[in-house]
Amino acid sequence: MPAGAGLTLDHAALDRLMPMHALVSPTGHIRRTGPTLAKLRPGEGLQGARFLEVFELRRPRNIARIAELAALGPTALSLRLRDRPEMPLKGLSVALDTGEGLFVNLSFGIAAVEAVGAFDLNGSDFPPTDLTTGMLYLVEAKEAVMRESRNLNMRLQGAKIAAEEAAFTDTLTGLKNRRAMDMILARYAACRESFSLMHIDLDFFKQVNDTHGHAAGDHVLQVAARILKDETRDDDTACRFGGDEFVLIFHRMTDRGRLAKVAARILARLERPIPFEGHDCRISGSIGIAVSDDYAAPKPEQMLIDADMALYASKKAGRARASFVGEPGGGRPAVAAG
């Protein structure tokens, strides 16, 4: 630097103070760079290359010659390496004394996270005043904390699903409970999904309980639940309505022929003797069926009441049978559709 500049630094000091600086001649050639900036082109370095051929100037734009940049005075720069356009750099340029060219100091800014890997940089490549290593430390620390946070959230999510599952499950039979049934029916009604309700009441269950005890009763309920689960599809829902009453919800299945067949199979299986501790427990069942297609505006509560009446009709008719709502003897006549 010429005398009278007020300050003289040798290159070694400059390299340590600003290891990413470049001295650019008035012709636009890089005369010298700090050691870290040289690492952007491993092996050969940047010396001798044209500054604007190595770096694409994004801000200020439309600079064709270094002299134009020097004329702007101290200027903030946004640049990209032409070799690696994904690597943005920030910088500041100041003009040197007349005719001496330009002094540029560069930084990776927040792109340092990628840059340290891309150019194999280490702590000694940055001066102690540079916050790059501090920022990298923080990025890694935050990443580690976020990982823990994600793990915690996933465990909580798992626990929430398990709790919800438990809240909607009948503990004895593993079927859905009444709360779950109400929610599913409300959803179907709201979405105008067609469905059928099968209300099932076990017959002679009280006798099993009285004769063989509650353990036998519980066992019978579990066997009955297994049968109901077997006879429904994945899309259907089997609920324990309470005591020895069950409700099956058949999603988008309103064909009376098919429903009658399912009901007949269930009744046949319920009537098979259920062995328990050396005794045969014998039960039967009665079924009432409501089909959403029979209602102009299906309301779950009304359909449940109607299915219950159809069930009562089945019982009166001699048990082990199924009746549809609206059938002769099958409860309240359904409101004609449409």
Partner: protein, 195 residues
């Protein structure tokens, strides 16, 4: 005590002595087998209960257990994040020692409610130091001895460390670096995902 610290103790016991040992310790301490969550805080007495149970179950003095915990934090592959974060402290072991003064504030920058001990390094010569470890909960000095021993190894430095005792919430460690280039040490690159 912060969950991160409790969780470190849990992972140390599990990774070093096996899942069964951890389950036994957790049960004795009145803790579920799933143990601590890293991002929640717990009462100090739970940490106490776990450390006491571990010391009894493994028939090992608590101080030694804490020192092993420190070594584990730096050297076990399951917690390599800790070693990396510590290596950000400096290019050489001596730089690293000096960076310990900042550790308390650095960790607060990442996890504001994590109360790490306040560390203060005093140098007596270019190779002899005293580290003061200040924390209301006793034991961080022993953990620090394990951490420093493993970090010296990591930098390839032969160092002698000695725990001098606790007084007024401050635990004192003496550090003597005998040979700076004792071994090659382990590599460290700033780039994440590297060594």
């Amino acid at each position: 005590m912060h969950g991160l610290i409790n969780r470190s103790i849990q992972c140390f016991l599990r990774d070093t002595y096996g899942a069964a040992a951890w389950t036994a310790v957790a049960a004795q301490a009145g803790l579920g087998a799933e143990g601590f969550e890293a991002l929640l805080s717990y009462e100090d007495r739970l940490t106490d209960a776990v450390l006491d149970a571990a010391a009894e179950h493994l028939d090992k003095p608590r101080d030694m257990l804490l020192e092993d915990l420190g070594t584990y934090l730096v050297s076990h592959p399951n917690v390599r994040a800790v070693r990396r974060l510590l290596r950000f402290g400096g290019e050489s072991f001596i730089d690293f020692l000096h960076s310990l003064d900042e550790l308390h504030d650095r960790s607060r920058l990442a996890v504001p409610d994590l109360a790490m001990p306040e560390l203060e390094l005093r140098d007596h010569s270019a190779t002899a130091f005293t580290l003061l470890v200040r924390h209301p909960y006793p034991g961080f000095g022993h953990v620090s001895v394990g951490v420093l021993r493993a970090m010296a190894d990591d930098y390839g430095v032969l160092a002698f460390l000695e725990f001098q005792g606790r007084k007024d919430a401050v635990e004192t460690i003496t550090i003597e670096c005998v040979e700076i280039d004792f071994t090659e040490g382990r590599d460290f690159a700033l780039a994440a995902g590297a060594a």
